[in-house]
């Protein structure tokens, strides 16, 4: 059933794109430098995979994403919780948060390079900036969207603030939190590739830029395909973790 409904159409879609790519290259309309053939890209991919170059790039970029994403999640969760548990604190940071929300992280790169060099700190900050806001906004939405009538039930059973937070507000916000995490993960993945193209000597983004400078379009394409695939796979893995967490109970905005 699943094979007929999903996998088969997916294979046909991908196959069509590959076929079109192959035909364009075989027809000789475009130069091999502008668009290398699928076969050439495939053999380059195998070579890069065998040499460990590809895996290393993926791991470096992924490591940066996980670190920045983790920090951003902790920050977003903390600030959003603060907003619920101590509403009076909100005006102190809300405007600063809103300000940074409107600054694209890429625009911060020159300053960050000046302050932190092109080391890991710059890249971590970029990812934190890119992934913080979707998570913060959806966690806040989840928290504030909690049905006050359910909170009243907690109050009628003498729940304190903290207990009500963990047993009512947090579970009812779960779906929103998870959707925010998913969006943010995508954002951090994009941001790190961008940052690595500007300020890095390792990682997938740097690999692509370096390949361009060496006129290796085939390597550029391998890099792009890898980015797409790794992004999809991490998204899918997060989906599995989350379905476990939400227990299929909360509608979690997945698939």
């Amino acid at each position: 059933m699943k094979l007929r409904k999903r996998i088969l159409p997916a294979l046909i879609g991908v196959g069509a794109v590959l076929l079109a790519w192959y035909l364009v290259c075989a027809s000789g309309v475009v130069n091999d430098y502008v668009l290398p053939s699928p076969g050439r890209v495939w053999s380059t991919f195998l070579k890069m995979a065998a040499s460990g170059e590809l895996i290393k790039g993926v791991l470096v970029s992924l490591g940066r994403v996980l670190k920045g994403f983790g920090i951003a999640f902790a920050l977003a969760f903390l600030l959003a919780s603060l907003r619920i548990l101590a509403p009076a604190s909100e005006p102190y940071y809300e405007y600063i948060v809103q300000f940074f929300r409107n600054v694209p992280p890429i625009a911060m790169i020159p300053l960050l390079i000046l302050w932190c060099g092109i080391g890991e700190t710059t890249k971590t900050v970029i990812i934190v900036l890119a992934s913080f806001f979707p998570m913060y906004l959806s966690i806040v939405k989840g928290f504030t969207g909690c049905d006050p009538r359910l909170l009243e039930v907690a109050r009628s059973f003498d729940y304190g603030r903290g207990r009500a937070f963990f047993r009512v507000v947090l579970p009812s916000a779960m779906a929103d939190i998870l959707v925010g995490m998913r969006t943010s993960l995508g954002y951090s993945w994009r941001a790190i590739i961008g940052a690595e193209m500007v300020a890095a000597s390792t990682g997938l983004g740097h690999m692509i830029l370096f390949a361009q400078q060496m006129s290796r379009t085939d390597k550029v394409i391998v890099g792009i395909l890898t980015i797409g695939i790794v992004g999809r796979v991490t998204d899918w893995l997060l989906g599995i973790v989350i379905r476990r967490f939400a227990g299929g109970t909360a509608q979690n905005g997945w698939d």
């Binding site: 109050r155 009628s156 047993r167 579970p171 909360a250």
Partner: protein, 237 residues
Amino acid sequence: MDGIEIRGLKKSYTLESGTLHVLRGLDLTLEAGAITVVLGKSGCGKTTLLRLVGGLEKPDGGEIRFHSPRKTAFVFQEPRLMPWLNVRDNIQFGLRRGEIDPAATKRIIETVGLTGFESALPAQLSGGMQQRVALARALACRPSFIMMDEPFAALDHFTRESMQKELLRVREATDASILFVTHAIDEALTLADKVVLLSGGVCAAAFPIALPHPRDLMCDELIQARRSIVAALGAAA
């Protein structure tokens, strides 16, 4: 005296069109271990009274005196279950970790007739079943004072009857005081030790009913009581 005394209770809401005085100096005594039923038309302030007694809202004036410390439980007009918790966890929602007793929970699930649905989520239950879970949630914490806001309004005739019996049994077993809101006269007559008529923001009339349970609604005393309640309701309107 042991019980709850309500004196001069006032509550008003500010609406766009002006101030709405819902309770205007209400006096009411809830005897310990008794079932006090508040009867009144829709919108007369029954839920408001219950929320004030339950401490979910602050009164504008007057006082509510509890004569002994008590564990209270609230059954709301709607089920208000946690959508992410299954039946069992919803029922145990009012308990602290150390108070959870699987055997007791099982018994309560049995009495509200939900055996087999322990792992079901609220969305998978009918409205009446959800309300029974809400009732079980209140009973599970062994309250000595239960406030109930039209808890059986959504149930069919037979389930309502068995829930009423169950409530009386709980009262027998635990000696809990119960403040029960309804607009169904039959239900009031079936359950009450005292029926209180809420109208015009005060207790317009009180009818003590000192009959043993189970009661025959067709017996002379209750027919008589029904007559005077209907008359008082009509006079209040």
